[in-house]
Structure formats: C-alpha cells, structure tokens
Symmetry: C2
Subunit: 329 residues, 2 copies
Amino acid sequence: MTINDVGTAAGVSTSTVSRVLNGTARVDPELVRRVQEAVAELGYRPNAAAQGLARGEAGAIGVLVPDLSNPYFPDVLKSVSAVARSHGRRVMVMESDEDPASEHELAEELMRCCDGVLLCSPRMDRSALVDLAGRGHPAVLVNRIVPGLSLPSVSADFYGGMTLVCGHLAQLGHRRVAYLSGPEASWANTERIRAFDAAAAFGVEVSVIPCGHTARQGYQAAGSARDRDVTAVVAYNDLVALGAVAALEESGLRIPDDMSVIGCDDISLDDLPHSRRLTTVSLARHELGRQAAQKLETLMAGGADAEPQYIPMRLRVRHTSAPPVPLPR
Amino acid sequence: MTINDVGTAAGVSTSTVSRVLNGTARVDPELVRRVQEAVAELGYRPNAAAQGLARGEAGAIGVLVPDLSNPYFPDVLKSVSAVARSHGRRVMVMESDEDPASEHELAEELMRCCDGVLLCSPRMDRSALVDLAGRGHPAVLVNRIVPGLSLPSVSADFYGGMTLVCGHLAQLGHRRVAYLSGPEASWANTERIRAFDAAAAFGVEVSVIPCGHTARQGYQAAGSARDRDVTAVVAYNDLVALGAVAALEESGLRIPDDMSVIGCDDISLDDLPHSRRLTTVSLARHELGRQAAQKLETLMAGGADAEPQYIPMRLRVRHTSAPPVPLPR
DNA sequence: CTGTTAGCGCTTTCAC
DNA sequence: GTGAAAGCGCTAACAG
C-alpha cells in the first residue's frame, strides 16, 4: 500500500498524490477528488519513515524526563505537546529513571529520531551535556542552566523561589530550618541550596539533610529533620513535603503549630484536606513547557539561541506554615 | 554525515560499514577496526528514518494513555519500556487527555510510525476500535476487553477486584454503599459497576454517583455520597478515594469509624499518614505492562493472538475500612 | 497544473 | 569476506 498504488487507482502520478496530500501546490479539483477517493478507498496512510527520509526531518520532537511518576511532568508535557502539534510534530517521551548514564544514551537516541530534543532536569554531568551540545542537534535544556554551554535553556527560578521561602520563614520568626535535600545530581536542588546562603544573611540557619525526591524518602528523612531541633522543614518538592508531614504528624507533632513544612513545585494536590494543603512555591508549569517547546521550534527553524530564560516562582502560603513555637529555654 | 562518509573514511564499502554496525555478517577484524575508528572519529550516527525505511520497520512501539498524570501509568510504562528495549525498540508515549476523538487520531498516528501499538484504557467506542483493528496493524488493548474484536488484550480483572471489595464490605456489615463512578467511557468503570449486581445478591446495595477520575472530582462528589445515607464509599480509583476522604473528614466525619472509604488501583501513596492509607484493590501494574508488551512483541513476530488475558487483583485491607456505625433507627 | 526523474540514507540481495 | 547495485516509500526539483 504505497503512494504509487493510490496514484494508479486515481489515474494520476505519485507527485500529484503527494501534492494533494500535502497541499504543496495547486491541483485540478477533479484530480483532487479522484485522489481523495482513492485514498479513502484503499485506506492509504503515508509511511512515516519514508516521509521523514525524503523530507529530511522526522516530524517529531523528543522529551526526556528523569521520572514520569513525578506529577510535575505531565503538566509540562501537555503544553509541550500542544506547541509541537501546532507545528505538525509528534512528541516522543522517554524516561531516564534518574540515571545519568541512561539519560545520556536516551538523549542520543532521541536525537537520532527526532528533529529536536527537550532535556528536562537532566542529571548528567556538564561534560556529558557538552558532548550532546557538540552534536549540533537542536536541543533545549529545561530546568537546568549550565554556564558556557551552547544549549538554550528555560528554567524555573528555583533560587528566587527558595529565597521567597526563606523570607517567608524569616518573617514568621523561624531561625532554625531543615532542608530535605533532593537528588545530588539535581541542578534544581543545588539552586535551592544556593539560596540558603542568602537566607543566612537574614538570620535563618538551614541544615541540609540528604533525602531524595519521593514522598517515601520525605517520610523517612523527616525524623532526622526533627532531631535537628528546627522549627521548620523545607522540602525538595511537594511529594517529599507530604511524606514529611505524614511522618511528623505520626510522631505527634501538629502541623503547622509545632512545625512548619514547606514544599516546592505546587503539584496540584489541593484536593487534600485543609491541614495538608502545603505552603509551597509554585510555577506556571504549562508556561515552562510552552516556552521550552517554543524555544525548541525557534531553534529548529534556525533561530538564534537566546539567553537562559527564567520562569519566576511564586510563594503560595497555605496551611502548613506558621510562626514557630517559642523555643524552650 | 552518512554511512557513505564512514565507508570512504575507512576505505571500505557502505555494505561493510552496515555489516559491522549491525553485526549482520562476518567481517575481517582489521576492517572492523577501521570502520569503528571511522565511526568514532566522525561521530557518525545512523539515520533512524533511513533505517526504518530500508528495514521496513520503525524500531519503536507506541503507547497511548488517556492521562499521564494518573500515577497508574508510569508503572506500566516502565515495564513496557523494559520489554521493548530488550527487543531493541524505542517507546513512544502519547496522551489522549481522555478524549475519544483525539484518541482515535493519535492511535492512527502511532500506527503510522510504530511497529506496534499499546492502547491503554481506550475510551473510544467499539466501532472506532473495530476500525483500528481493521488496519491489520499490530496492536494490543490494555485494560479493555471487547468481545468479538480481533485485537489481543491484557487487562486487570476489575470485575473480580470490585467483587472482593463488595465481599469485604459485606463481611464488615455494610449494607448501603455509594460508588463514586469514573469516566463514562471507561470500560474499567463499567466492569466495576457490573460487580455490584453480584454484590446485591449478598445484600449490599450500591448507589452509583457520577464523579470522575481525579482527586478533585472525588472531593466534590463526596458530599452527595454522604447524602445518600451510606456507611461506605467505594471510589473509581485511589485518587478519587483520597479526595473523598479529604472532603468527608473536613465535613466532620472520622474515617473509617464513621464512614469507610475504599479505593482502587493501589497507587503507591503508602507514605501517607496512617489515617489515609487506603483500603484498596491492587494489581501488579508492572505485570500488566510486561504482559501487554510481551503480547505485542509476539504479535509483531507474527504470533497468534491468544485469549483475552486477565491479571488478578488483590484486596488490600488497610486503614480506611471498618464495620459501619450502627444505623440510627 | 501535471508527470518524469532523481535522490533522502540505509539494508540487502547478488555476484565476485 | 567484500563490493556493486537495487530498492524501501516518499518528496521536490525539473521539464513540459
């Protein structure tokens, strides 16, 4: 079932078929009709590989994410898809499972079969990224800024977001805070930590506790946060925060009266009961996805790669932050 | 940068390059070395479209899901990916946003560019499915069984699972139960409802309340469940159940003392605090994914499509179900 | 406006 | 064991 069969059936040349199928040029209405009829009759569908080869482009973009089960990504993916589809491109999603090595490999694979690639929160090290950038294949970094890299990037302003969190805690009167730290390879995590230096200037002391990115890890790490004699816990993300809230409540603390807990990312779980509607910092994830996809399209169209672009984060004060209990003396 | 350039650089023919790259035939070790060197030197990567065209297969399978933000799918996708990769295939994920029309369209698109397709919880109607099946393109249905359809299928045994739930409630002494119903087009939902007929035989009366598939919808629908004067609420899935728990608790009920709430799917949120570790029915999602992918591989290899295959569900009694409060008289 | 023709980059007979 | 050559199905000049 090829374009040729359609041509034969309609009594026209393959080029004519191609023309009516792609709207590449004017075609006699009568022939158009015959072609469409033949297409319908035969149930013809163009072969994607052949089109890709002939056109010199795959008609797809690739998106690589570290972890699909993070509620963060579906939102991003939706707007990425919307942009891509509006440009007639498919979206190919791959997941690296937070593994830098397979991440590099999958990125290469995506580059082989996609016109452009979106690398979300890549965990690979700088040199691996430099390697990929050297391929000269359109790609944009999402949620990671690497100085001196030739890849365009769009990222949430994690530093700014965490600064808002610290300011909020400082104003509430907190002085000792624990940070449940995310994956080591996470740039977003590093950025958050970077903000704590600024916080120190405001008299807020943050101790960093290794944790992870899942609710379970937050649940497990909450204990050592509590041991640090802090009045507030800031989590790498909302999932971790939720896990921490659960653990802390189980250990008899009331949130936020006895302990404030602040998340990050604002994954939409505001169907949760009052007591666990997290104070967090939010980001227009669809905006992040939209801009990233847009930037990628620009890049594929040969546009210049602009400055790293930051999407601002907003503080969402909800129900898990409050002034600290007076310290026992 | 083509295979030709590599050949020239290595002083061999393109066929030789192809052979060493694919291990298709014995090649003189010396030539192998030269080719590999040239490949490395030039940073050559085969063009996926050209390979696909020449080989007559895309080297990828497609997976269509209704909603990526449902924590159900990432688990399935992981094992699907594992199987696919072990067969040297990429995985292309698409999301239909629960829309039957775009679902049909996306499925067609996936068929154009993938060797096989996994249709997860498809919402499209029977005739649309028949249409797709008629394409003769390898595809398997996941979580949907359609009698008389030529498509193989692998599905959770929702009927059996819900029967377990009803039995559990009956044994606890519940007599009036509300079911927060999922998407109308969902076969899984229909199967669950079908189980209620059996439940009636055990004296459990279930009233079905339109709801949806998200936590928010569960939160919103919980009120009308409460109004039905029931002692237990069964939810379409765990997300809905969680939303319902939140709403019910906010309205002053204690779970499970005043009201039992049972979910479905067992999405791993057991990092939640005690009070909301849901009683639910679970399924080895990785098994579902594995078997579906396996079946698809078999199908692509020309294997016969076997019987619809059911994956059993298990009741997980946790902390949101208990005997009913004595009915006021 | 339409048909003829030459590739796109790779695999794979087929001879050597 | 290796190279030459013929496509895979489609698009895009190029003539007419």
